[in-house]
Amino acid sequence: MYGKRSKFLTTCLLLGFTFLYLPIILMAIYSFNYSRLLPVWGGWSTRWYKELFNSPEVWQATLLSLKIACLTATIAMILGTMAGIAIVRVRKFRGRTLFTGMISAPLVMPEVITGLSLLLLFITLQQTIGWPQRRGMTTITIAHITFAMAFVAIIIQSRLTSSDRSLEEAASDLGAKPFRVLFDITLPMLAPGMIAGWLLAFTLSLDDLIIASFVTGPGSTTLPMLIYSRIRLGLKPDINALATVMIGVVAIVVLIAGLLMYLQARRSRAAAKAEAMDS
């Protein structure tokens, strides 16, 4: 185990990574392809990047998707955290079991059904109370929140169940009223879970094609919807360029987060070492 890594394992590792990343690398390379035809290599060029910057349609879709994703993530994080806390921390209330089951139902519900049912809801609402007047960004956001919230609630629930109850008890013992305990102790304790939930909700929303297609209205085209419709009409390489830009942005964000985490770990290691010197 501690000797040389076996050749077999190394090969497996390489094959695995190739399978995961080769398509992405290929896509990035083809985004610099001059040719209009996707599979034909026509030499290096940044032509599609220029076209991308000049294509309002793509920008609008991207912006809309990002707006919806940000809104969804933020609201789903708040509601999901509240639901998670209610499930784990609030002592028996009527219908708690039902509530717990229903909060996780969207996880297993097929997206077409979620989409269709929400569409029906919005139509009924429009006919009875006149809101929402038009389907579009608002309806997509509401639909996304509905299912992203379930994921956040699950994350928060698991983090709360495994957390030390005595921290909250200690705060209460020291004179903090329940609301103070929530803000001083519970929420800081849940912060990593909330961030993870936010990111998950963000990606879920950014990814979603099916539900958005159901509940959208004229003029509101999200990025996945745009890409999907383009595939049917014949793909233009500017989508490759867009995807490459997005991957680049994500990679940079991940890199920064990793760097920050590494620096923090090094700081606390240094502090621990300093303490060892003290004693």
């Binding site: 200690a170 020291l174 800081p188 303490e275």
Partner: protein
Amino acid sequence: MSETSPLISIRGITKSFGNFIAVDNIDLDINEGELFVLLGGSGCGKTTLLRMLAGFEKPTSGTISIEGSDMTGVEPYARPVNMMFQSYALFPHMSVERNVGYGLKREGVARAERKKRVDEMLEMVELEQFSKRKPHQLSGGQRQRVALARCLIKRPKVLLLDEPLGALDKRLREQTQFELMKLQDRLGTTFVVVTHDQEEAMTLATRIAVMDQGKFVQVGTPAEIYEMPQSRFVADFIGSINMIDGVVKSISGNTLTIHAESDDANYTVESNDQIEIGDQVSLAIRPEKIHVDAYDADNNSNPSEQKSDNTDKTDNRFIGTISEMAYLGGTSTLRVTTRGGRVFQVTSTNRKRHLTGKHDLDWDDQVEISFSPSNAIVLKS
């Protein structure tokens, strides 16, 4: 019972979780300035009782009052008690300083005053130079002191401690025990400590309550608990003890003769309890109260027979063989098998220094053991 009214008074407190009764109809008074220890094995209800004092569990029935005011329905944050948790429950995202100051902040103490009192407190537990550290950057002993400081800064009437030394290693535990006692003495705060460690209980307590299955088995000073256990459970739970089951054969004054069937021997013991001839009792004798001597068969004319009816000499004397021996440094623990076949555990102090490692007593040596009737305890239950 003292003339002043007790600080904590518990009346008929019961707590059940479903069908399981964790605390079963307990009455207790704790006076101001006491260091009261709840001692018992796991699941005996000691922690539940402590948590009811803190307000984290609501009693199923019964009342708790502190300083004469009823605590039923009073939330934990409004009680004049503070609790130190077994896990210490230090807030991981706050520095030592903020952890200690948290209680004062919630009380609404102004920043300057708060800083002063936090500094005082940290000085008292000798952690001034660690005030900016986070809990995960401290050692176990330091964390324990932060937790203690955080509770004490609110100057509670009662400090509740749940296994306060449980997470420390043995050396640190002994040292901390004395620090805890010194602190309690200095502040005069009433401490209620929960522990499963009988040695810890003996060292710390002014009074101990031994708990089993949700009930108090015995309440008393450490010496009372150790020297005068009232039941087999207590005798067995605290320290080691030799237990001899037998029937009372004769009574003269307060001296009883007990006949044990298993080794067909008579034992004499003093007791002031109400006991009748023919009662089934247990005789209990602590290992350190048994005297052990090397036995030389040639010099003893009347060695093997026990002087059974000799009530003025009163020594219970038996000849036996050392069947096991454990050298513990200061003392040695011996297991002596008598000719009747009974095994006595005996503690003997190693008064002389044996450079060669060869002791007066060794495995398979013949010895004479004896104990005085006044040192043995008679237990009816």
